[in-house]
Amino acid sequence: MTSNPQSIMASSRPLSTWDRINPARYIGELSETRFWMYLLLLPSALLIMGVVIYPTLYGFQLSFREMRLNRPDLGTDWVLLKHYQRMLSDQIFWISLRNTAVWVTAAVIIEFSVGLIAALALNRNLPGTKVLAVFILLPFFLPNVVAGHMWALMLDPRLGVINDLLVKVGLLGGYKAWFADPSTAMAAAIIVEAWHSFPFFTLLLLAGLKGVPSDLYKAADIDGAGSISQLRLITLPMLKTVIAAAVILRVIGLVNSPDLLLILTSGGPGRSTQVLSLYAFQTAYKDFNFGYAGALSVIMFIFLMMFAWVYVRLSKVNQD
């Protein structure tokens, strides 16, 4: 809504000297104009530009330049698509890409499934569910670094309590180095990741479940739908938007965060748990090749954008 400052001033008594120089008066008048909205948005817009858009664009331009801190002789010239061309023939890149797909898909599926089961249980409002809810959410409160070290210790081949338990119940013949065996390292890391992050799905799905009217289940009871049918035909479709948002956020988190794998395996043994984010991180901060790391990050960025777009289209979230 706009108003004419002149008409406001015309209707008031003559302005004193203090009134003329009082900044609050000018702010008050400005707040009545359409520019006020833009002024209020300005601080957050500047913040986003400073900490998100600038680094992103810088990363993009970095991917087209040579920048190796341990090879100053190469300079920082523009190299156009050199890094991207190198990527095509880089075996580690392809291994990382495949591992990323396995890591993200398996973790999201497990986290979603466990998260959904927990959310459905907590939505029952039975005695004790509030206390249980806090317990279930606890892993999510732990920083990745703490969770990673905790599990590394629990799965330790000599001291680990899990090895001890598995041997005692007869599931294992002897203590096993889970993270040292290429056939189990990825699976073990995925289980740690799923344990740590399934409460994210629990939290969002529980919030979604609270919004499903109970009358729908009563109607479905009378219509003869059993528990599985109710889950498949009522609950999940009603949670579609929440699921889509949660999956996209989680995929972005999983693709972009190398911290847990860095602590548990550092991408090994061999390259068996090497994922793109870890590869980009190590390329930048171990090999000091910021140009190539920038190109890897750009590819991750493009993959994530494409995934989000395709996923939203396929899940038809926008249609309801």
Binding site: K218, D221, G224, A225, I234, M238
Partner: protein, 358 residues
Amino acid sequence: MATLSIKGVRKSFGSVEVLHNIDLELEDGGFLVLLGPSGCGKSTLLSIIAGLEPSSGGDVVIGDRTVNDVHPKDRNIAMVFQSYALYPTMSVRRNIGFGLEMRRVDTSSREDAIARAADLLQISHLLDRKPGQLSGGQRQRVAMGRAIVRNPDLFLFDEPLSNLDAKLRVEMRTEIKRLHDRLGTSVVYVTHDQVEAMTLGTKVAVMKGGVIQQLADPQTIYEKPANMFVAGFIGSPTMNFLTGTLEQHNGGLALHHGSAVLALTDIEPGAEAFVGKQVVAGIRPETFSKGEGPSSLTGTVDVVEPTGPDTMVVLDVGGQMISARLGSRERPHPGEPMTLNVDTSALNLFDPDTGNRI
């Protein structure tokens, strides 16, 4: 179609008993309305009939089958909810046919049944839409379509018209009545709206505090309420309650209220026992007519409310306010005196101690 018997049904939530020994009978093809204010237990009773809520005691018998431990889907009932409870992600077609789909009815029979129900409710053109694309009245029809498509033994309606605007509510009320006349299926209908109860029900159960206050046909409920709660709950404006003393008068009985004497006719035999005692006379607003008569009340006009077809007049009779429904042409002015004659044949007497009808 089936009969419904409720025998001694009770319901407690912890130490709070919300239904006390409810007994009801509904004849085959009847329309039973559970009527009462919020919190009287009518919706809980409906949920117990549907099997959505377990009772704490007593029996629910549909037809000749006691269904206490029978799952809702096996009771052969259909329910229309206040919120309609349409599945938002399914089309109208699938909503209507969902009960048949779950019962594994083959596609062609299902499509036929959906088409018949949609045709009956005039929603054939809406079948491919989602509930979110429908108006309140259309959703209501879809909810009814979902109920009738299965040919259930019993329809259960839980305040189905509460979410509609006044005009649509009247239209849908007529629609429900027409549907019941056509299908002849027994109905249990929960409402707090007395007009719905009076217009739809073949039998009305007025409830309060988890107890049925009166179970009778609508006319009896209106003309011969069992107690002062029923008398006050049914009718708009509400029944006038005039306290006075019952005396012998010209060989009959009369109610003395101040200087006014209302000669009573058509008195129930039990009234003789109250001669010389205080009683409460329940007088419907439409039983008043302007002018002197054998049983008149004189007072001062307090408020005049023309409604179009009638004029509602609030009269101050010795400090007690009396509502009277007079003809539309009557236009008294506030402050002026007015005498009203009472048709005492329609008058009800209540025991002031128990509130029960004498």
